[in-house]
Amino acid sequence: MLPQLSGVNIRQTLTQALSFCLVLTTTFMFWKGLSVVTNSPSPIVVVLSGSMEPAFQRGDILFLWNRDVRVKVGDIVVYNVKGRDIPIVHRVVRNHASSKKQLLLTKGDNNAMDDLDLYAHRQYYLDREQEVIGSVKAYVPWVGYVTILLSENVWAKYALLALMGFFQMMQRE
């Protein structure tokens, strides 16, 4: 009788583990799928700074699209300066386009100066293909503020993960 029951128990544990894993992997695969469709490594971003106010506030969520071969003056783009990790969300104020590449100058609406000082030394323009990871097409206010709280408070992140795990264990459907 005992070996029987342990067969049941192993499978019960595996089934619970599977439900938990599937929640994580499905979310992750949706994110990666969206990434592939929009051609952007980060198709949804949270606004972290006030440099685009009053259009965007900290905590707003932006939806990106990266399949436009050329972006236009007036578009709002997200870019990574070569060698730096933090993406910047600013508006394109200048554009020089040839058949081979597109050079852009950006500026935050709320900044007095354009982004020239943010670029690498002796870099006068952004390269659309190399450094732009998407242009903003849609916008949802405030919802992202939770992620800012999470990233700025280390304990909040662990608390949320513990809470999610606890709720998952409490239900078995």
């Binding site: 009788m1 029987q4 029951l5 067969g7 049941v8 499978r11 019960q12 595996l14 089934t15 599977l18 894993c21 599937l22 992997t25 499905t26 992750f28 695969m29 990666k32 799928g33 990434s35 592939v36 051609n39 490594p41 239900q171 078995r172 459907e173």
Partner: protein, 182 residues
């Protein structure tokens, strides 16, 4: 005697159904039935296969970077959703609520259950799967085998399933005996 860990949430139909299913599995084990895990194993394999695909896609993307990994990520995502679809189809169309398959003395049975959302009724079906695929369906409200504090009570449940099993298995025995005698 009741284990506090086994207390069931009386306002959650899924919890009630799962607890009843588990109790039936234990009852059948105590009666000498040997469980056949093939349905469950296929489900677990499909599920974990999709998890592995997701993990592989994630790992490759992490190490090689978004641009290089893009074609593989696309394949990975598609494969993941295909496997997940197969997993869901397996549960919905093949398992169809079956939570136990087993045999004793050469007779195989299959037990399935269902409970509608917010309904206090537990539907139980026992099917004989060796020869006749005769099945016996019955429904009882959960409160016939749960006490008011949320603990399951084995004896009414055991009596019920005994009755259902004998209605599908015994008739075969009597018809076999009748054949033998004639």
């Amino acid at each position: 005697m009741p284990n506090p860990k086994n207390k069931v949430n009386l306002s959650s139909v899924p919890d009630l159904k799962n607890a009843t299913d588990d109790e039936i599995v234990q009852i059948l084990a105590s009666k000498g039935y040997t469980q056949n895990f093939s349905l469950i194993d296929v489900r677990l394999m499909l599920g974990f296969a999709s998890v592995i695909v997701a993990a592989a896609a994630a790992g490759y993307d992490y190490y090689v970077g978004f641009e290089k990994a893009k074609p593989f990520t696309a394949i990975g995502v598609s494969l993941y959703f295909v496997l997940n679809l197969a997993f869901t189809a397996w549960i919905m169309y093949v398992e169809k609520g079956t939570f136990y398959q087993g045999h004793k003395d050469g007779k195989k049975i299959s037990v399935s259950s269902s409970a509608k959302k917010y309904s206090p009724i537990y539907n139980l079906t026992v099917t004989e799967t060796t020869t006749s695929s005769k099945s016996s369906k019955a429904a009882k409200p959960f409160n016939e085998f749960f006490d008011s504090t949320g603990y399951i009570v084995r004896s009414p449940l055991e009596k019920w399933i005994d009755g259902l099993i004998s209605s599908v298995v015994q008739e075969d025995d009597s018809s076999a005996k009748a054949k033998k005698n004639s």
